[in-house]
């Protein structure tokens, strides 16, 4: 990634964070911690890697994205709005009655959302199904999936992991947002995940682990995944919950928290121009 490209993607990540903080503050409460921790990933995907068409969100040759940790929807909505999938004014309707931007992703409500998620553990199975269907259609699109570390407690992920390896679903490029915090405490306190990359490798995946806030590293990891033709890829992102948001960075309790407009203004100012 060139320095100018890095600057552009980092600026986009900052924009995603600002928009996300703003929409959650508009409502007063939301899943901010896990939204902040994937902002850099979303910036790389939507500013560079993911083939998508705002004006034709269901185009056959687009890359697919399943945000299995569906509660991080607000960060994805920020990216989609910034790229023109829907009007930016929608962002202020987050979670309000009748909105098209619900707390958890809904493929029928929001342009650019490929799969309805929210009941944790289900997204990777859907991604496998999408990849199987694309293979039948000889469609070379990439299927991106993002799962949470707390979500990794769900056994269905590991059913899908074995399936994707068995079927050699190399079109799947998945990410684990390893921010080491879940609702009731740190992952080490609740269900320790240990060497997550080793687990995925043992399940037959091409597994990498990188700094999940380094947009250059994320971009490079995705690049290497494209060269692996016989296995799905899992990129474990070492992240910080609440990253980049002054009032919650590194706080375990930021999974779902109250956010006032004053807190938001301070956090947005701290992010800088």
């Amino acid at each position: 990634m060139s320095p100018s490209e890095r600057a552009r993607v980092e600026a986009f990540a900052k924009e995603i964070r600002k928009l996300t903080i703003g929409m959650i503050a508009e409502l007063g409460v939301g899943h901010i911690g896990g939204a902040m921790s994937i902002a850099d990933l979303l910036a790389v995907l939507y500013d560079k890697r993911l083939k998508a068409y705002p004006e034709d969100a269901r185009a056959a040759d687009r890359d697919r994205l399943v945000l299995s940790k569906g509660h991080a929807g607000p960060a994805l909505y920020a990216a989609l709005a910034a790229k023109g999938f829907f009007p930016a004014e929608w962002l202020s309707t987050l979670n309000k009655g009748g909105t098209r931007l619900p707390s958890h992703c809904d493929r029928n409500k929001t342009p650019g959302i490929d799969m309805t998620t929210g009941s944790l553990g289900q997204g990777l199975s859907a991604a496998c199904g999408i990849a199987m269907a694309l293979r039948l259609d000889s469609n070379p699109a990439t299927v991106y999936a993002i799962i949470g570390d707390g979500e990794s407690d769900e056994g269905q992920n590991w059913e899908a992991a074995m399936f994707a390896a068995q079927k050699r679903l190399s079109s799947i490029v998945a990410f684990t947002d390893y921010n080491r915090a879940q609702i009731d405490g740190t992952t080490d306190e609740i269900i320790g995940l240990g060497g997550l990359a080793e687990k995925w490798a043992a399940f037959g995946w091409n597994a990498l682990e990188i700094d999940g806030h380094d947009v250059g590293a994320i971009d490079a990891a995705i690049e290497t995944a494209a060269a692996v033709g016989d296995r799905p890829t899992m990129i474990v992102l070492h992240t910080v919950k609440g990253k980049g948001c002054s009032f919650c960075e590194g706080q375990v309790g930021s999974h779902n928290m109250n956010v006032t407009k004053e807190m938001a203004a301070e956090a947005v100012a701290a992010l800088g121009a």
């Binding site: 309805t116 199975s125 999408i130 269907a133 269905q156």
Partner: protein
């Protein structure tokens, strides 16, 4: 019946390459081998992982495929309920979930495998279409209808052979029951039995025969479509006869008996009413015949229910 399921899928699959079959290590039981042989690339065996199977089916349908995913009804409902609910139905996707070996048909697999509650669970899913075909002709028709419908379907499938109740060419639809027997040629009857599924339709006809020998005229309705339910036909016969007995290979609570009771209560049609079904019990092992009697699902129990009205 399972041969009909497989044959129908092979036929549909020849005409439409969007049809895909998913199995969770029960292909030998479901009998979809012929489909796998004809269309190996469109057959997906996920191993012993029903939740994953339903999620994969949902993902495939998001890309326009028409997945038929089958497993024992106990696993299709209890094991993969949230996946079917959220990834399939809530996501407005297009998963055809097939639950085999319903109720006492689970026989020697016993209580762990004996779904007396799958229909009650499925009935609570908004907009879900639920059918239990009663013979080979209705099975083939409803598999085709399921493929044609844009939306999820739960199809309850008795694998073992069932006698034909309908002639080839008979037409079926969701929300439509069939009058299997009018009480008498002039359309009069002393009571109506509403039955669901092959096993219970057969027992209902036997019960009607037993009562006919005593001079009683009994009408029999084959419900077929639990949701939507053919309330019009059922209420018509409730009004005509004033006596209604439902029978199902399932708990009395939550499925056919409940649905018919709700329809009658809300319609204001005056009639007497009884349910034949499993009375708040778990399943156990035995032959299907022994279990059907043990859980009071057979013709004599239906006769007793009618006489008790």
């Amino acid at each position: 019946m399972r041969a009909v399921y497989a044959e129908t899928l092979v036929r549909l699959g020849a005409a439409d390459d969007r049809i895909v079959v998913l199995e969770a290590d029960l292909m030998k039981a479901t009998g979809t081998g012929p489909f796998a042989k004809a269309y190996p690339e469109r057959t997906v065996n996920v191993g012993v992982a029903e939740a994953n199977m339903v999620g994969i089916a949902a993902g495939m349908s998001a890309e326009g495929k028409i997945p038929f995913a089958a497993t024992f009804a106990c696993f299709a409902s209890r094991r993969a309920y949230d996946q079917f609910f959220v990834s399939g139905n809530y996501a407005r996707l297009n998963v055809k979930l097939v639950g085999t070996d319903p109720g006492v048909c689970a026989a020697f697999n016993g209580g762990t495998h004996m779904p007396f509650e799958d229909l009650a669970l499925m009935r609570a899913v908004p907009g879900l279409v639920i059918v239990e075909p009663s013979d080979p002709v209705s099975l083939a028709a409803f598999v085709q209808k399921a493929a044609e419908r844009d939306g999820c379907v739960y199809l309850r499938l008795q694998r073992k052979a069932a006698p034909a109740l309908y002639k080839e060419g008979e037409t079926f639809d969701f929300g439509k029951a069939k009058l299997l027997r009018a009480g008498s040629p002039d359309g009069k009857a002393d009571a109506v039995i509403v039955a669901l599924g092959a096993l219970m339709a057969g027992e209902a006809l036997k019960a009607a025969d037993l009562l006919a020998a005593e001079g009683k005229k009994i009408a029999v309705i084959d419900a077929l479509s639990l949701k939507p339910l053919d309330e019009e036909l059922i209420l018509e016969w409730a009004a005509k006869t004033g006596r209604v007995v439902t029978c199902e290979n399932h708990q009395k609570r939550g499925a056919l008996g409940s649905a018919v009771a709700e329809a009658i209560a809300e319609s204001g049609v005056p009639c007497k009413f009884a349910r034949v079904g499993v009375d708040d019990e778990f399943g156990e092992v035995g032959t299907q015949d022994w279990l059907a009697d043990r859980f009071r699902l057979t013709a004599p129990h239906i006769v007793a229910a009618i006489k008790g009205l």
